[in-house]
Amino acid sequence: MSYLVRRLVRGILLLAGVSVLCFLFTEMAPGSFFDEMRVNPQISPETIAGLRAQHGLDQPLVVRYGRWVKSALHADLGYSIAYNTPVAPLLWSRAKNTLLLTLTAMVLTWGISLPLGLWAAAKRGGVLDRAITVISSLLIAVPEIVIALALLATAARWRLTPVGGMVSSNFEELSGWEQFRDVVAHLTLPVVILVLCESAVIVRHVRASVLEVLGASYVQTARGLGISRGRLLFRHVLPVAANPAISLFGFSLAGLISGSMLVEVICGWPGLGPLVLDATFSRDLYVVIGGIMFSALFMLGGNMVADIMLMVSDPRIRTGAADAG
């Protein structure tokens, strides 16, 4: 248990670190939301100064950070200047869409990569193994933006899936089942892009860790004893190979969340990504900070899940032996 508590404390420290970094960067920022306003001759400098004071932007960094932390503890995460509302509810309405996208992509990614990696390792050197190696190398090598644009162009050109947004314009008129199908249809393209980008890395790691276990002496011994191939893979190899895969799960989340931002903007998915991008243009500082905090929170949440799974699957962590030495 103390392991989990330690990880939790570490996670909270990380969040605090991220927020401090964000505020340090705002300090370096030469402009603000109101600078864009200053260009407008119809707004007097006094009005701008008043607005600045109202939002506390004239306060020193420490005071602003203190206020923000207080607001974060009230689950507000500061105040959006452009939308004139607390940041957290605004972000949450979009974050739900991001979660829908990333969670679907994650489930599919793992559902595809685990069996593929295992299969490739089991039939090492076979046609499938080589095909997987080549394709995954290609997918790793090619930047996400290229994959996303290529798939988007293909889908749009041949009308394979609806493109842009999360629902059709006539969404309100559809029945419940049709609404579900409509969302799934819109979800397809961004999910396919994300799965393609993320699964390549995971297939490779799963394959590598299964191969490593297959080479271990106790597996060789078991094989020598004439154990069946299926039993060997599922009883002996998979449980051991699972650990690196679970650790990878936490890391793959970072890629998935960054990737989803890009995909959301390219595919017009109304998630956190486009919101944060707009906030960046309008210099709506607290929305940007909130977006970063949300994404960091997602990642830490995913890492916690990975930690719990690791603890369940790895007796060394349960007993604390892994921490010694």
Partner: protein, 343 residues
């Protein structure tokens, strides 16, 4: 210190390096290779498709390829077969600064005015996409390389300090790397970009951008370098050299730094394409290098309109260029990595 190249270069690595050098030369000499100025507009040719190179006209075969000009019709463009423009090598055209050093107007190839040779078509302003891909590549690839240099510099300094001095310095620095590693970098990149001024000159944007991209990614190389330093610090030959009275700086320079070169080289090959892609993404969002300066990212941002994406596929050319660049870099990184592993 005497520098010797003792490693036997494998054939694969040699070929990949030759390819990469060729690619970079192509971009470096963009002014010469590109037939047109990247900012030169042709108002009468918006979204003109790629010019076709012909060898046959109605009567006979020509050894020298020639092109027909596009003439606008209702639903696009049609080749105007009434006049042909042969493609010549080493022609005089728009002037440019050769390697930024001196003025020149000599181009690798081109056709006589008013003919146009648009190898990869034209964008909304009728600008030559081929020329813009080359010029844009200069910006994007340079951004990738500079950002990589920043990352590797910061990463190796921090990694060396953490690995060599250990103790609380190590713990603090590695805690910070964990912080940076656990950030979804694109959000963070956007965030940092949000705090920088939006409208500044292209040169300043370029350097702000590369610094931001570079500063966010230092954590991974720092970890790798720290690992190498940590393991080489305890090597007997380092202890021995310390026993001879070697100071920290001597040990770092002569024994420990050379150990990290392999890792840094592999990291560089991995990071450059990733950082090019980061620049492309940021410029695609409109947060990077702004028009009229071409970069692969801001060229691609035209495709955010789905109608453009569907109808004018040749505008994906920068994505194709990014694809080729990334694959070559990846293969090199892969080859370097496996050589490092096998040692």
């Amino acid at each position: 210190m005497q520098v010797r190249v003792r490693c036997k270069m494998s054939g694969k690595i040699t070929w990949l390096i030759i390819l990469l050098v060729g690619l970079h030369l192509l971009l470096l000499l963009a002014g010469f290779v590109a037939p047109y100025d990247p900012a030169a507009q042709n108002r009468e040719l918006p979204y003109a498709p790629p010019t076709r190179l012909h060898l046959w006209d109605s009567s006979r075969f020509h050894l020298r390829p020639f092109v027909y000009p596009w003439s606008p019709v209702d639903d696009g463009y049609r080749e105007d077969r009434s006049q042909a423009y042969p493609v010549h090598a080493f022609v005089r055209g728009d002037s440019y600064r050769f390697l930024g050093l001196f003025e020149s107007n000599l181009h690798l190839f081109g056709v006589e005015n008013p003919g146009k040779c648009l190898l990869l078509g034209a964008d909304a302003f009728g600008r030559d996409e081929f020329s813009r891909v080359l010029y844009g590549g200069q910006i994007s690839v340079a951004a990738g390389i500079v950002a990589t240099a920043v990352t590797l510099f910061v990463g190796s300094v921090i990694g060396v300090v953490a690995g060599y001095y250990g103790g609380w310095i190590d713990e603090t620095l590695m805690g910070t790397t964990e912080l940076f590693l656990s950030l979804p970098w694109l959000y963070f990149l956007l965030g940092v970009r949000a705090f920088l001024p939006l409208h500044v000159s292209a040169v300043r944007t370029f350097f702000l951008l590369t610094c931001v991209i570079g500063l966010i990614g230092w954590a991974r190389p720092a970890r790798l370098v720290r690992g190498v330093v940590l393991s080489s610090r305890t090597r007997n030959y380092v202890s021995a050299a310390r026993g001879f009275g070697g100071a920290d700086f001597y040990l770092l320079r002569r024994h420990i730094a050379p150990e990290t070169f392999g890792v840094l080289l592999t990291q560089a090959a991995m990071l450059v394409p990733r950082y090019i892609a980061a620049e492309v993404a940021l410029s695609f969002f409109g947060l990077g290098v702004n028009e009229p300066t071409a970069s692969w990212g801001n060229m691609l941002s035209a495709l955010q309109q789905y109608s453009v994406l569907i109808s004018y596929g040749w505008l994906l050319a920068p994505a194709a260029a990014l694809f080729v660049t990334s694959v070559i870099y990846y293969l090199l990184a892969d080859a370097l990595h496996s050589r490092l592993e096998s040692r």
